[in-house]
Amino acid sequence: METNQYMEVFIDESKEHLQAINDHLLQLEKNPGDLGIVGEIFRSAHTLKGMSATMGYQDLSNLTHKMENVLDGVRNKKIDVNTEMLDVVFDSVDDLEAMVMDIADGGTGKRDVEKVVLMLQAIENGTVSDHVENKAIHTPSPTPEIQLDEFTLTVLEQSQEQGQFNYQIEITLRDDCLLKAARVYMVFEVLEQVGEVVYSVPSVEDLENEAFESSFHVVLISGEKMEEIKERILKVSEIERVEISTFSLQEYEQVPENEEPEGGFSRENAATQEEPVHNSTAKQNSNKTIRVNIDRLDVLMNLFEELVIDRGRLEQISNELAHEELKGTVERMSRISGDLQSIILNMRMVPIEQVFNRFPRMVRQLSRDLGKQVDLQVEGADTELDRTVIDEIGDPLVHLIRNALDHGLEHPDIREEKGKPREGRLELKAFHSGNHVFIEISDDGAGINRSRVIEKAVQNQVVTEEQAAGLPDNQVFELIMESGFSTADQISDISGRGVGLDVVKNTIESLGGNISITSEVDRGSTFSIQLPLTLSIISVMLVEVQDEKYAIPLSSIIETAIVKREDIFHAHNKKVIDFRGKVVPLVFLKDLFTVPETREQNEFYSIVLVRKGDKMAALVVDSFIGQQEVVLKTLGNYLSGVFAISGATILGDGQVALIVDSNALIK
């Protein structure tokens, strides 16, 4: 249980860091010279490496380390930022992502990453000579950054008087050393055995936090001989090199005067290095959040509903008693619980950013694969949606964006011929409107050719020619989302948008949303998706069937009506009605659900007209109670898959009402 909790945090945070790396890599591609971005990437990668090593995922940690090396090269201006290099880094991020997903699915996070590792190493090695040279220049400079305070100086003086030696040691860890802090700890332990460390660069704190490259300096007081100490330190594994020399106080005291500018420079350097650290803490502070498991929010919501039900009863009682003070208190309570309700609902809201932020990367890859130039504009990424919707909407959007890129936007040459800029524009927009969220995907590509859509639809027997002729444009375009409109081998026909769009449409409709298309030839197309804010609360029509109450989702209702008994016809042994020229079959909920009969047959039937796609059915009920917003609940695992019931909800009086799945009633 405990490790599982760490696991969740680990997976969540890994995903976040990978996303951050992705985002920053895209930024880096646009501003290759901005080393601040590299720093950001480096930080994310470093944290990821540390986390995965701690959790015992060696492969993940190793690959991150390799990637880090390349980034380090970029940071130290040894490796140029270019498309090829970024491709490899992106690939390694993909591999890391796959590993994290594997771990999330309960796997071991192992993966064959040899190819990427080789490519990373090739990039790294391409500049190996520079690397060595740089180091060579770096090492001989004596005690470059050692700044001793007076207290330390006094200690050193005293030790000399007592016949001890003062040593200055530079320890370099191997590049592939994974747990640097642990090595440092081991080195320090060795040092403490032979003497006393009075000073270290970087500080012990930084060393513990692994806030150093690969080498560090210490000043050690010891009675042992130089060689002896060196031997001992080298016994610690993963140590590349140990440089040890006598630390001369006299020399040190001269240095500041002689090399004032350099000393000043190194201090400045330290200051600039510290800055990003400050930045990141500031960022964390401005965005204080905690992770809460969605199940806990569900529990909170359930408890709250109980409260709301009791509130209803209290309101009723206080009205009956007409006690002024009680009334006032109950009213106040109602108001407060109303506010509480909206807060609890808000807690489940997540910015759509979570879905959107994987698209820039995808568009980059796709446009390279297709040889097209695309400018992706994302708007309204902070628009919030319920978590349940967020989880479902990703795939349909991926599909639509792929379609827009693949079949909507033309090749640069063709665009030029048409007098458009070579670079195509792809817009991804999200915004709120009323109780809904709209997501629009628009391109300035070729648009949809009406006559060819009709041609195809008629050919595939989706519509007849006569039907198609009378349809307005938008309905013609929507034909491309009909199942059976297009099959895979017909991709290249009519801008090919038919591929799998029926799946997209189904997914969106199952979420209680809908999708519409506007398009103009050579001006581009817009796919507009309308989604409910949340899936946990839906609008329903409450109806009575004998003494039982049922809820029918408003999203599938066309309208309600009352018909006379004599208006019912029989066709094929079925009862049907003529509804505005259309023959609609009747479904008697009373018979379907075998509701015990308590009331007498009425002269009139109350019907609810529901639809599934183009098909309709008329549900016969006894009376309408009215429209209501209800919280959707499942029937529990024990009763999964009950015929024509999609869930349940709790009404104001505490009773459970079942939600009718009208889709299951229409064949």
Binding site: M301, N302, L303, F304, E305, E306, E548, L592, F593, T594, V595, K633, T634, L635, G636, N637, Y638, L639, G641, V642, F643, A644, I645, A648, I650, G654, Q655, V656, A657, L658
Partner: protein, 156 residues
């Protein structure tokens, strides 16, 4: 001492018709008085429906019907034992529930060939306690998912 403690199981004892039954206390979430039940159509006959259990919609089955015992009117003594097993929360309607007992492993005997009218497959064992006879239920078998599905299919 500790060994003895390990061998003891705490059980909830409830009444169905003339027999006393027991289920392990760790499978019991709570014991409720009868709540309004909403019928769920097209389910097995012993599925009474669902209740609102503190905001959670919980299915209810009638144990008498489940065991093919004669039906009885629900009264003041009728209880719903909310039990959970393998991710499923299910309420069991019983005639009454009023005892919690510690059973020693030694007291439990394998089920005899025939006990009352209950089919043997639901029974994990029988415990003799002085003058009482407790039938230990195998909840997993009582809430057997396959059987529910099969029954639902037949009815549907």
């Amino acid at each position: 001492m500790t060994e003895e403690a390990v061998k003891q199981t705490k059980v909830i004892v409830f009444q169905l018709k003339d027999e006393e039954y027991a289920i392990p206390v760790e499978n019991v979430g709570s014991i409720e008085r009868l709540l309004p039940i909403t019928r769920v159509p097209k389910t097995a006959e012993f599925v009474e429906g669902v209740i609102n259990l503190r905001g959670v919609v919980t299915p209810i089955i009638d144990l008498r019907k489940r065991f093919n015992l004669e039906a009885s009117e629900h009264d003041e003594q009728t209880r719903i034992i909310v039990s959970s097993i393998a991710d499923m929360d299910v309420g069991l309607i019983v005639d009454s529930a009023n005892d919690v007992l510690d059973l020693k492993e030694d007291d439990i005997e394998p089920p005899p060939e025939v006990v009352g009218t209950v089919e043997v497959e639901y029974i994990r064992g029988v415990a003799k306690l002085e003058r009482r006879l407790l039938i230990l239920l195998d909840l997993e078998m009582v809430l057997n998912q396959k059987e529910v599905q099969k029954l639902m299919e037949i009815e549907g």
